[in-house]
């Protein structure tokens, strides 16, 4: 798994590549800790290159989302591949997250 971060104004974007599972959550967790330290914490996770997420990764994203909301921000997801979208639908986490088809869309949704 690889991660690459960038900023669009005050919005922090993280692009993740590869499997996103319990063996790989450490670095994303560290990045989210830093990102959530800001207020407002506006975060976009771009999962375009992610082909698998497990429950640890889901738990990490839920944790990030809750902390961003506490910091007057939010955590948006974008560009989910079909297998990943299915996992979100099966666990109904698609109801908990704002999910966008493209990164630009997610970024502009912060307004």
């Amino acid at each position: 798994m690889e991660i690459k971060s960038s900023n669009v104004g005050e919005i922090q974007v993280l692009r993740i590549t590869g499997r996103f599972d319990s063996y790989e959550t450490g670095r994303v967790s560290e990045w989210l800790d830093q990102a959530c330290a800001q207020s407002p914490a506006k975060v976009v996770l771009n999962l375009a290159e992610v082909n698998f997420v497990d429950s640890s990764a889901l738990a990490l994203m839920v944790k990030g989302m809750k902390r961003c909301r506490q910091q007057r921000g939010d955590l948006y997801l974008c560009s989910l591949q079909q297998p990943v979208r299915v996992i979100f639908e099966l666990t109904r986490l698609d109801k908990a997250f704002a999910i966008y088809t493209a990164e630009t869309e997610a970024v502009s949704a912060f307004g």
Binding site: D54, A59, K66, L93
Partner: protein, 508 residues
């Protein structure tokens, strides 16, 4: 040893050659022959009367270059006699030097042997010690005695708290000892200190100190400090080094033993936790009219986050649940126990509660706790009303739940609510489906759909659906057994990634 004693010792130990030397002089016409040092006459020949006080030829004797006295001969004169006397003195000097050297070597040999024996004793006694404190105590005590120190101390920094042992009494305060250890860590070397050292002042009456570092697991984590009323030299350092090497090995052994012990204790605790958790799962499944049932749970680690539960209270429909707390191990197990208990109490206390009511209420109670530890739990709750052949259920983010109607195609019963602990309000709804003889419901956890083979390929939902479909004519127990066995075969050589739990119910 004083120089005066040296010549006396020589005369005493080599009386014969000296007496022959004297006899030769007397035979050659000398009146008397004597040996003297700064303290006066030591021996004389003929021994009937002391030699006169003056009128002697004199030749100095020195041992190892140091003057120790002289030979005196009376009643002879001339250059020849003077030269002969000088030669005799030289001969005696050489004998003396060799004698001294031999004594020193013998002394050293005895010392070395003593030290070897003491080191051997030290090694033996340390080998039997399994407490770090005891090892440090032996180290300070033995090194103190072997190096004739007035005081000794051993210090060890393991984890964060330092351990200090003094022998026989504390002589330097703890902070000073820790400072010395810190200096050793920086330089990587021992410290030899003398009285009047500006950086590390020594207590009054102390002439020298030595601080030897101990390498424990490749790092300087301990040290030995010795104080003495005479300065320490290079041989002392070598001996201290040898003792410290033994000490370091003994400390490593003791640490390893302590760790093994702690690990065994943890293992026992984990086993206890496992037993407690297994007891939380239903020990037997109730008999429910119209249903054939099987259930089992196989944690990936000693304890897991998966659970299942069944309850049947008089006048209430049969209730069952399958859940999965995110993560593995002890944290997941603790939350699993909480979730399962709350589900039970809600089922009992909320009269005629629907599956969605129960899940919503558990979420209300546990949302804050789940958020606090950044976890959540997916839960499927089913209720079976046998008189109406109806299965009511609500699904909070749980998958896979597979419904395989008799003779029909197996389908996933997808969740409509998020997992417990994700959102403050849980919005899952109640659903109902007819459940007739031959219909099968398998509520499993993602340890089944996400089992991986050696190539890393997931077992996946499709394969799981087809498998359940193909097994649907068998008994609930047989379906459960085959599902577990299939996962075991599929992930052969790869190991179990996640907890695997399932409840199988079949209409009969």
């Amino acid at each position: 040893m004083t120089t005066a004693r040296l010549l006396l010792d020589l005369v005493n130990s080599r009386r014969d050659p000296v007496a022959r030397m004297a006899a030769a002089w007397l035979g050659a016409g000398a009146q008397a022959f004597a040996l003297a040092d700064s303290g006066g006459l030591l021996a004389w020949w003929p021994n009937s009367s002391p030699p006169p006080l003056s009128g002697a030829l004199v030749a100095p004797v020195s041992i190892n270059g140091r003057p120790v006295g002289e030979l005196r001969v009376f009643g002879v004169n001339g250059d020849h006699s003077q030269a002969r006397l000088k030669a005799d003195a030289l001969l005696l000097s050489q004998i003396g030097s060799m004698e001294t050297e031999l004594n020193e070597m013998t002394g050293e040999l005895i010392d070395n042997q003593d030290q070897l024996l003491a080191l051997y004793d030290l090694t033996q006694s340390m080998r039997s010690q399994l407490e770090v404190v005891d090892v440090l105590h032996t180290l300070a005590q033995s090194a103190g005695r072997l190096l004739k120190a007035t005081a000794a101390a051993a210090v060890l920094i393991e984890r964060d708290s330092p351990l200090l042992i003094h022998y026989p009494q504390p002589f330097l305060d703890d902070q000073t000892l820790l400072n010395l250890l810190a200096q050793c860590r920086i330089s990587g070397n021992h410290l030899l200190l003398n009285a009047g050292d500006p950086v590390n002042p020594l207590p009054t009456g102390t002439a020298g100190a030595i601080f030897e570092p101990l390498y424990v697991r490749g790092q300087i984590k301990a040290g030995l400090c010795l104080l003495r009323d005479t300065p320490f030299g290079s041989p002392d350092h070598k001996l201290a080094r040898a003792i410290c090497d033994q000490g370091a090995a003994a400390i490593e052994t003791a640490l390893l033993y302590q760790e093994t012990l702690a690990q065994a204790r943890l293992q026992t605790e984990a086993e206890l936790a496992k037993n407690v958790q297994l007891r939380l799962l239903p020990q037997t499944l109730p008999h429910v009219n119209g249903l054939d049932m099987a259930a089992a749970s196989l944690p990936a680690s000693v304890v897991g986050g998966d659970f299942y539960d069944c309850q049947q209270h008089p006048g209430e429909p049969f209730m069952f649940a399958v859940g999965d707390v995110t993560g593995k191990g002890m944290p997941a197990a603790l939350l699993m126990a909480m979730t399962r208990t709350l589900l039970r109490s809600k089922t009992r206390s909320l009269h005629k509660a629907s599956p969605a009511d129960i899940l919503g209420s558990v979420n209300d109670d546990m949302y804050d706790d789940f958020s606090e530890v950044s976890m959540f739990a997916t839960v499927f709750v089913g209720q079976y009303a046998s008189h109406e052949n109806l299965l009511y259920y609500a699904n909070a983010g749980h998958s896979p739940v597979i419904y395989s109607p008799a003779g029909g195609e197996a389908v996933l019963l997808q969740a409509d609510g998020t997992a417990l602990g994700v959102l403050p309000l849980n919005l899952c709804e109640n659903h109902a489906l007819y459940f007739y003889p031959g219909d099968v419901l398998v509520a499993a956890t993602d340890g089944f759909s996400e089992a991986r083979n050696l190539a890393g390929e997931l077992f996946g939902y499709d394969r799981l659906l087809r498998l359940v479909e193909s097994l649907a004519t068998q008994s609930a127990q047989s379906i459960a057994n085959t599902l577990f066995q299939t996962m075991l075969d599929y992930s052969a050589g790869h190991g179990q990634d996640d907890d695997q739990t399932l409840v199988v119910i079949k209409g009969v």
